[in-house]
Symmetry: D2
Subunit: 138 residues, 4 copies
């Protein structure tokens, strides 16, 4: 609610583990935490008024992931209810760093950092973040 | 709410379209409607007290999809909010047929039928549905 | 080889089952057969000189799946080597029907039919197949 | 060829980008490079005589990813043919570090490091790598 007062406080997005997320090891496939992290970032952006389809339509720009890092501590399983956190660590004109974690209750399952840049959607050339985006996030 | 009185009324599960669901055509990748359908079936089962991990642990049985059919009417796009319906059409001792639809507001995007069977989780031999499952669903 | 002489003979594409394809049931996730089918169709098209990115760039049109149907007979597992067949059943001006099967050696694991249409890549309005495509396939 | 003489030389696995790998940005979805990396590691292991399903059946152990890091340089697109490299950087009794890259011809698209551990497949407790595995890889 008071996002403007404390825009970098950890945001939390809840999701459920379905069959599609698991692999034959009986647990969530390791690449899928990047999907979970992205869902949470998308909802975090939406809560701040940033719709990514809208941003692309309006400005011709889109976010891209420049770097991802994930450490896996404990496996998530089918039917688990997880909370995915989003915390903006730093935000410059052309790059932001976001820390994310996956929790099952009080157990930390995975954590990572995602570096986000901005590109022209047609040429993929690097761009500065549009000003309204910067204002919404910082 | 009155699930016991009318267990086969269409159940609806809401979900959001994320980047992971789309393809380079700019729309949801056609195979992913089967993921959406399964998420909705899983929540429909959960509402009726059926947890699939629990069922596997307790009985050694699990559901399998025996047949899937999907007709695609209109494409879903990034950021769309969809409702996925679940309706039990028929349920025998070893096979059930479920009709499902994907809606964006009042627009029907896709519809299909999924035939579900039951197998031993170790041998994959066909089994009858466990009695508590049948009672919960019919 | 003699594609021109017998364009609808079953084409076969070989692929391997990886962790990403499996689920916690220990077998290939049911939606992923649609991915396998599409990979095989893409290679079948490529062998006939049809590149889909090229087609989109040249004509502004792209293929879409209008209907999919899959029957699942036996589960595929991690490390399995599969062959996916592609057989053109019928091809009109605006719709084609393709029969596909997934084999592990002499065991049929899954089979289905995929109905393909053609749309304008920007508007998603139905289009006839471009003439060079029709000539390459029929 | 001379794998025994130089077991840590970069191994290369070729793969094709299909619709399933792309997203609405028109390029490969960022999480899918982890799938590409894993396919290449699996084939690299297979070339050294290590089958993961076989290892699980024989020893009850399986590999797990403990940490993943990817830097994304240029986007891959539909129909691209990529080469994914695998290079063993270090290998202890319970942890190995693998460097991987994704190439399109002479263009480096993405690179990363994957830390692999070993667990009991039932309890997920950390284990040392089975001796035959260590001998095959080092």
């Amino acid at each position: 609610m008071h996002a403007a007062a404390n825009p970098s406080a950890p945001y939390r997005h809840r999701l459920r583990v379905y069959w599609e997320d698991t692999d034959a090891g009986g647990v969530v496939f390791y690449a899928n935490y990047l999907k979970f992290f992205e869902r949470a970032r998308t909802e975090w952006l939406r809560e701040r008024g940033v719709g990514q389809q809208q941003m692309k339509d309006d400005t011709g720009h889109m976010f891209v992931v420049a770097e991802s890092r994930v450490r896996y501590a404990r496996p998530a399983r089918l039917d688990d209810s997880l909370e995915i956190s989003v915390e903006l660590r730093s935000c410059g004109r052309a790059s932001m760093l976001i820390a994310q974690q996956a929790w099952r209750g009080s157990e930390l399952l995975a954590e990572g950092e995602i570096r986000i840049g901005c590109v022209d959607a047609l040429t993929f050339r690097p761009q500065r973040f549009p000003n309204p985006i910067l204002q919404a996030l910082t």
